[in-house]
């Protein structure tokens, strides 16, 4: 195990056995991934591609049929490993009669945190999630965005190194999306590792350092945003000081036309196009 890795997944396979002795369905096949501290990694893929299955394997809710998963060097599913993981589910459910603060205290207690430690942890989390204004109100008065912030808070309460966010921005208004993205960037700056899934590709593009695309349980592509979005057979030419007429013949000899500066950079496509190309 490389000590700088927050998460190390090696050749993992997950299968769901089906009723009546039908052939087992492979939910994830020969999947490997390394995540370093302080990076944001996005998992993309259509519904049923294996994203949530991977989260459940990391948390120990499912057991891999083959391969291994290590979190900070600890085998996935063990208590020590889970102490290093914070989980934000897609549709979080909490008791509606509790307040936001009580939810954080309860999940802190479930993590074995004493009152003293909890007291120190609560204020920074309330600030990061911008929960302070409604933390004393019961959950049944909360909007979807507020519940998502509480869910983010409970994921962070035991100060884990690895954060798993399942569709963290789905159903949020633009302000909620911005808050979530800012929180993710702040957490990255604190050295936390974030693995998240999303269908909202524009949002992924603005926060992820690296991505992988899953399709039918297989990883089709993985890499940094810059590498993957670079299109080798195309380039963007930026010129300065030319008129509209001069631009029409610029391809062959830009300098011959007397341009004062010519900058040629690789042209980037959009993440959406990349995703569609691999999953069509």
């Amino acid at each position: 195990m490389n000590s700088s890795l927050s998460l190390q997944i090696r050749n993992v396979q997950a299968r769901y056995s089906l009723a009546w002795n039908r052939k087992a369905m492979v939910a994830l096949d020969d999947f490997s991934l390394d995540l370093k501290a302080g990076e944001i990694f996005a998992l993309l893929g259509p519904n049923g591609s294996g994203k949530t299955t991977l989260f459940k394997l990391i948390l120990g809710f499912l057991k891999p049929k083959q391969g291994s998963i290590l979190i900070q060097g600890e085998k996935a599913g063990t208590r020590k490993a889970r102490a290093q993981v914070g989980y934000l589910p897609e549709n979080p459910y909490f008791p509606k009669y509790l307040t936001g603060r009580e939810i954080l205290e309860t999940y802190g207690g479930l993590s074995g945190l004493s009152r003293g430690v909890l007291k120190d942890r609560l204020e920074p989390i309330l600030e990061l999630t911008q929960m302070s204004s409604f933390a004393e109100k019961p959950l049944h008065t909360y909007s979807k965005g507020m519940i998502q912030r509480v869910s983010l808070g409970q994921a962070l309460i035991h100060d884990p190194q690895l954060l798993l966010f399942d569709e963290p921005t789905t159903g949020l208004d633009p302000q909620g999306v911005d808050l979530m993205k800012e929180a993710m960037k702040k957490l990255r700056s604190l050295g936390k590792t974030i693995l998240f899934t999303s269908h909202l590709l524009e949002q992924v593009e603005t926060v992820a350092d690296r991505i992988a695309i899953l399709y039918q349980g297989k990883k089709l592509v993985e890499g940094s945003m810059n590498e993957l979005l670079k299109e080798n057979d195309a380039a963007t030419i930026q010129v300065k000081g030319l008129s509209e007429e001069q631009l029409s013949g610029v391809k062959g000899a830009l300098y011959d036309f007397g341009a004062s500066a010519v900058e040629v950079t690789p042209r980037s496509g959009s993440l959406e196009n990349l995703f569609r190309r691999y999953t069509k």
Binding site: Y16, K56, L59, G60, F61, L62, K63, R79, K80, R82, A83, V85, G86, Y87, P89, N91, P92, Y93, F94, P95, Y97, L98, T106, Y107, G109, L110, S111, G112, L113, S114, S151, Q154, H158
Partner: protein, 287 residues
């Protein structure tokens, strides 16, 4: 405070708060209280019969409704966590699965204690009311007046502290059923299955000692078969360990010998039930 204590106490507290807000507690406790309140309607009995009937009636009500509460609350507690998917956020925390099961059991145990306490206090209130009514009727009865010794004897029977021991033995029996129901919950996908199986086990538990004695005593049975029956009798509950409560109701004077067997039996069974439940729950996958 240790981290283990904090984890256990937090989840126990959450279980108690959940149950206090669920209808199941009140749907069982209110009918139980209403049943007890019908006690003054049963008046066509002699003075002595009346006292025995009051004790049996209150204990029976506690026993039946307590059983429903123990089984239904336990079956729903785990299935609710699965249906509402709270189990994913709870078990994602650094909490052992045996801690989850123990906390659930302790939370339901506290609720049962609370429910039995309420029913005991209500029964005591009814005893006081009935005692007053009966004494007034007896004093006014010119044909069969009661002596002061008789009155004292009846009063002693009605207010015997041994009745509290009977309730304590009932509590231990219900805790055992919480354990069995938790065990079935770890394998079941529906709470209906868990409730039905637990009720069956309860019935089997009451028939076990008679059936075992009959099988072991029959000469036609092979040694192998007797071993199987012997093994089953260890796994299945034997409710005869809790018969001390019925003996107390019949007027026996209890000592520690009434409490130690049910206490030891409950403890022993809870240990293996917890071990087996944990083993099953550890290997259970949550999709």
């Amino acid at each position: 405070m240790s981290a283990l204590y904090l984890r256990l106490s937090t989840l126990t507290g959450l279980t108690v708060r959940d149950l206090l807000r669920q209808n199941v507690l009140y749907l069982i406790l209110i009918p139980a209280a209403l049943t007890l309140l019908t006690l003054p309607l049963f008046t066509a009995l002699t003075f002595e019969e009346q006292i025995k009937f009051m004790r049996d009636f209150c204990y029976g009500t506690m026993s039946i409704f307590g059983l429903f509460l123990a089984i239904i609350a336990t079956a729903q507690s785990l299935s609710n966590d699965l249906e509402q998917k709270t189990i994913f956020t709870i078990l994602a925390k650094p909490l052992n699965r045996w801690e989850y099961l123990v906390s659930k059991g302790m939370g339901i145990g506290l609720i049962l204690f609370f429910a039995l306490t309420i029913l005991t206090v209500l029964s005591a209130g009814l005893f006081a009311y009935q005692e007053k009514s009966l004494l007034e009727a007896a004093i006014g009865n010119a044909t069969h007046p009661l002596s002061s010794q008789e009155l004292q004897r009846f009063s002693d029977q009605l207010w015997s502290p041994a009745l509290l021991m009977a309730v304590l033995i009932l509590y231990l029996k219900l805790i055992l059923m919480v354990g069995f129901t938790l065990l079935f919950s770890t394998v079941a996908s529906s709470s209906l299955f868990t409730i039905f199986t637990s009720l069956m086990i309860y019935l089997i538990g009451h028939l076990q000692s008679t059936a075992r004695e009959w099988v072991m005593g029959s000469e036609g049975l092979s040694v192998g078969m007797k071993w199987v029956v012997g093994l089953l009798s260890v796994i299945l509950p034997d409710m005869s360990f809790y018969e001390g409560a019925e003996r107390i109701l019949l007027g026996a004077t209890p000592g520690l010998s009434y409490l130690i067997p049910p206490l030891g039996y409950t403890f022993f069974n809870l240990l293996w039930i917890l071990g087996l439940s944990t083993w099953i729950f550890e290997s259970r996958e949550f999709r």
